[in-house]
């Protein structure tokens, strides 16, 4: 095995770890609505979401194509640059998680890769049209669209069935949530898993294993689908334990409207190849379903967090990605840099995790 092969394996492994953490982190967004309205039991909701996340990864490759072809010039970069971008994204996610800052894994991933490509190959390596047109503008439009679709959906629900007896209506919308929650999980799987597929495809192109413009190989699709599904399933147990404390209160019609709006926007965007922050879109749908009932029911602080994440994530992850690329190059052109940084990242992650748990225990007991 050559050093280039070793670097490629490290990139693929790191990308799959990123995918796993994405699923782990986002389980709450996908299942919280179904659980809070009692449409599904927590165990069922988590298992169902994990399966549909897996299935969702197979229904489209448009987002993967955008990440692989429209963000950075694949022929101008190397697997080491892709690795530095991933480290930028992971480091930013870790830092924002530790300090409780708003963030978006998807934007961090794209920001990290853009920053690393810029540092390694100069401004020509960054496809500005793609970054602005395929990532930044949809990042602003999609949550707002989910908000308005959520408002429209809940208004339709209340207008059409508002005068019916509440019991059957609630039961009906709970059944509806089985469908809308499933679609949301499917949508999450397709958009988020494809980002990982795109990153791995980018590394394969840079390594010379894959022709530019080709679809990701089947093993990439299956492994990305498996990683996000396992992440979703693992993250679910944390949700089950903390349930009832942090979940938004809403009725079944609102849950159905919020999930339907989120799923519609994510699936439509995925079809046109827009890599979105699924968290932001789902939050937009939830806020819309809340605002359609009562404006004061909306947690406007969440909207502030989304704006904060928009402003912070892309540039910050880009700077860290560029710095990671610099560090990798300082350690030479071989596998030493990626290996050393992987070990450092694992240690930093473990340290931050332990510190966070210790802090959490202090708060809980103090």
């Amino acid at each position: 095995m050559s050093e280039a092969d070793l670097i490629l394996y490290i990139v693929v492994g790191t990308a799959l770890v990123f995918d796993f953490t994405n699923g782990f982190h986002d389980t709450a967004n996908v299942v919280a609505t179904s659980i809070s309205t009692r449409a599904m039991s927590p165990r069922l909701a988590v298992g169902y979401a994990a399966i549909l996340n897996f299935v969702g990864a197979f229904i489209s490759l448009e987002v993967a194509a955008t990440v692989a072809d429209a963000v950075v010039a694949a022929d101008a970069i190397t697997p080491t640059v892709v690795f530095a971008g991933l480290i930028g994204a992971i480091a930013w996610n870790l830092a924002t998680w530790y300090f409780g800052l708003p963030s978006s894994s998807s934007h961090a991933l794209i920001g990290g890769v853009v920053g690393a490509a810029f540092a390694a190959a100069g401004p020509d390596a960054v496809l500005v049209d793609g970054v602005v047109g395929k990532v930044m503008v949809p990042a602003v439009v999609a949550p707002a669209l989910a908000f308005f679709v959520g408002v429209g959906a809940i208004v339709i629900c209340y207008r059409m069935v508002g005068r019916q007896r509440p019991g059957p209506v609630t039961r009906g919308f709970r059944w509806g949530q089985v469908i809308s929650g499933g679609l949301l999980a499917l949508a999450h799987g397709t958009n988020d898993a494809q980002k990982t597929m795109g990153i791995i495809a980018l590394a394969l192109i840079a390594h010379g294993e894959l022709a530019q413009g080709s679809d990701p190989p089947t093993w990439v699709i299956v492994s990305a689908a498996t990683a996000i599904a396992l992440g979703t399933y693992s993250g679910g147990w944390r949700i089950i334990r903390t349930m009832g404390t942090r979940i938004i209160k809403m009725d079944a019609a609102q849950g159905f409207s919020a999930q339907g709006a989120g799923a519609a926007v994510i699936l439509a965007s995925s079809h046109f190849g827009f890599p979105l922050s699924t968290t932001h879109v789902i939050s937009g749908g939830v806020m819309g379903a809340g605002a359609g009932k009562r404006l004061s029911a909306v947690r406007w602080g969440v909207a502030g967090n989304i704006v904060g994440a928009w402003l912070l994530t892309l540039p910050a992850a880009a700077v860290i990605g560029a710095a990671a690329d610099g560090v990798v190059r300082l350690l030479g052109n071989g596998a030493v840099g990626p290996v050393a940084i992987s070990i450092a990242a694992l240690l930093a992650g473990a340290f931050a995790f332990l510190q966070r748990i210790r802090k959490g225990q202090t708060v809980a007991t103090g």
């Binding site: 059409m160 019916q164 827009f274």
Partner: protein, 87 residues
């Protein structure tokens, strides 16, 4: 030409406005359409039960038909959306 207009035109040149508008249209039609058909299904199911309790058999049957149509339309819309995506 004002700076704002120039920036708008520049953004328009970079963004695939057609794809973005299609996304907005598809998401709006899908989100609101499925909500409407499923709400019709609930209206039909609920109305059918109430009419049956009141002894209005014909009305109950009509509501039941509305419920079935609503469910079928919802499933058809979702199926159509997924087929379009997979293709």
């Amino acid at each position: 030409m004002s700076v704002a207009l120039r920036e708008l035109l520049l953004a328009g040149a970079v963004v695939d406005v057609g794809a973005l508008l299609e996304t907005v249209l598809a998401a709006t039609v899908a989100g609101l359409g499925v909500t409407t058909t499923f709400s019709l299904a609930i209206l039909g199911a609920s109305g059918s039960v109430d009419a049956r309790r009141n002894g209005q058999r014909l009305q109950s049957a009509a509501y039941a038909a509305l419920a079935v149509l609503g469910v079928l339309a919802t499933l058809a819309a979702i199926g159509f959306g997924l087929v379009v995506m997979v293709r």
